[in-house]
Amino acid sequence: MEIILDVTDLHIEFHDHELPETVVEDFDLMLGKGEIVGIVGESGSGKSMSALAIAGLLNRHSMEKTGKIMFNGDNLLTCNRNKLRTYQGDEISIIFQEPMTSLNPVKKIGWQVEEPLFIHHPEISKTDRKKRAIAMLESVGLENASEVYNMYPHELSGGMRQRVMIAAAMIGNPQILIADEPTTALDVTVQAQIVELLKKLNREMGTSIIFISHDLSLVRQLCQRVIVMQKGVIVETGNTENVFRNPRDPYTKKLIAAIPKIDLGD
């Protein structure tokens, strides 16, 4: 399998207080083309921080990042900001936990879905952009796509907004989609639909996905490989089924034991 993203020894430290606070330590991740990797762990385990670092969105002054995030021959941690921007939204996309607030409230859906094309492919004409945006909205499962195109975020439900976020993230046909707890804020039924949608996009467009969640059952449904994190450190990694069947680390065992099981009774 061709490796498209190679993260080694990622180390993130905050300097907000007198003592530096390490939020991610020795994080390694190799992502193959078309692969779906899950990162699980409780809140504060550093999973979202690692994801934001890969997406190039950790840019506070009071922090230190070391290690390597190699993509397309560039180290995303040290490369020029302009270079990084050419990847953001075009080759590496991200969707977030909060679909209700992640869209700009005063811009139309169509405009927001088209934006990555507008930024990265100015050669595409306005009509083509619109065509592609509507097609993308359709393929993320929004039935009345041409109507949604002219709507504003507040007119859509949380699940629909997350679909719009996915459409905007996928319109540039990126190599990597980072999904940072994309279903946490949604209803259970909608959660399953979003997971199905990610599966479908992965299959049809060949996009590699980094799926971050604290919900192990979702990770089991979706990911071939899983990374378990605790307090900024990877405690276990491997094939999802293997990890689930034979967890080696006590923390992983605890996480698996915590999955609510449906008791069908006798």
Binding site: Q88, G89, E155
Partner: protein, 314 residues
């Protein structure tokens, strides 16, 4: 469209309510207009006759409707002091005061928006720090004082204008505008300081929002995020504020007109208040209220254009 019609009607209702308040207020104030007109020496019969003539014996509501409808037709009553129509007294003063208010308003927008953006963009930079301190100082200086300073510095030292040398718009438009620049600056200065501060904090608030992170994740640079995403959101509270400022500038030009010896509305207003020339005061107050209400209508409409969520909230 439905929204605009709705707002338009509520504006009319507001105008009627305000006019009722103004009318009632001037009826509560002691003093008999007939007596005022005739003087204390007049005989009781003559007073009664004049009261009848002036319609003062009619019920309150009848008098209000008569006053309001004639007001709408441009008849604002007759001045007690000069015995001439109020409309004629103020009609050629209105452009002076309004021009000055509009000029200060434009100045406020033209200066504060770029400055607000610059300070927010380079938060805690040298420019930001300088402007923040300058803002504090300017906000603390009342317009009449900055007016005196401006007169002294630009009028007497640099001789950019002749203090007291007001030229009416009927004589020379360009000289009229040139003279008004300086009082407009005096009015605008504290407003600029406030608007810069407000826009800066609004921009910085918006920059913390989730959608900003989304914008960056799509490959936007700082300018892209600022102009394509944040600015429009940040302008929503600022527009409300600017609407209030414009209304305030119309009313607030009164002091400045005195400082710069401009024969605008304020001179008549002050004279009428001290002479108890109520019809004039009433007309001017009504006029200022109407302007404020109409400005609010425009602010609401602009609001609606910028923020698509308003309609649902209605």
């Amino acid at each position: 469209m439905k929204y605009i019609i709705k707002k338009f009607f509520s504006t009319i209702v507001t105008l009627v309510v305000v006019s009722l308040c103004v009318f009632l207020a001037f009826n509560v104030i002691p003093g008999d207009p007939a007596l005022r007109k005739l003087g204390t020496e007049a005989s009781q019969e003559l007073i009664e006759q004049t009261r009848q003539q002036m319609g003062l014996n009619d019920p309150l509501l009848v008098r209000y409707v008569r006053w309001f409808t004639s007001f709408l037709h441009g008849d604002m009553g007759t001045s007690y002091n000069y015995n001439v129509p109020v409309a004629g007294m103020i009609i050629d003063k209105i452009p002076i005061t309004l021009t000055m208010a509009v000029m200060s308003f434009l100045l406020t927008i033209l200066v504060s928006i770029p400055l607000g953006i610059a300070t927010a963009k380079h938060e805690n930079g040298l420019l930001d720090k300088t402007i923040t301190i300058t803002n504090q100082i300017i906000m603390a200086i009342p317009p009449f004082f900055s007016g005196i300073l401006i007169t002294f510095i630009f009028g007497m030292i640099f001789k950019l204008f002749t203090p007291g040398g007001f030229v009416s718009y009927t004589e020379d438009m360009s000289k009229f505008i040139r003279y008004l620049i300086f009082p407009s600056v005096a009015i605008a200065l504290p407003k600029i300081a406030m608007t810069v501060k407000m826009l800066r904090s609004s921009l910085l608030d918006e920059a913390e929002k989730d959608y900003t992170r989304t914008a960056y994740s799509r490959g936007n640079n700082t300018s892209g995020v600022l102009y394509r995403h944040v600015l429009k959101n940040a302008m929503i509270p600022v527009i409300t504020f600017l609407g209030m400022l414009l209304a305030d500038m119309v009313a607030g030009s009164i002091v400045i007109e005195q400082v710069f010896s401009i024969p605008g509305i304020s001179r008549i207003l002050l004279a009428s208040i001290s002479n108890r020339d109520y019809p004039v005061v009433q007309a001017i107050i009504m006029g200022i209220s109407a302007i404020v209400i109409v400005i609010n209508l425009f602010v609401d409409i602009i609001y609606r254009i910028i923020d698509p969520r308003i309609e649902i909230a209605e």
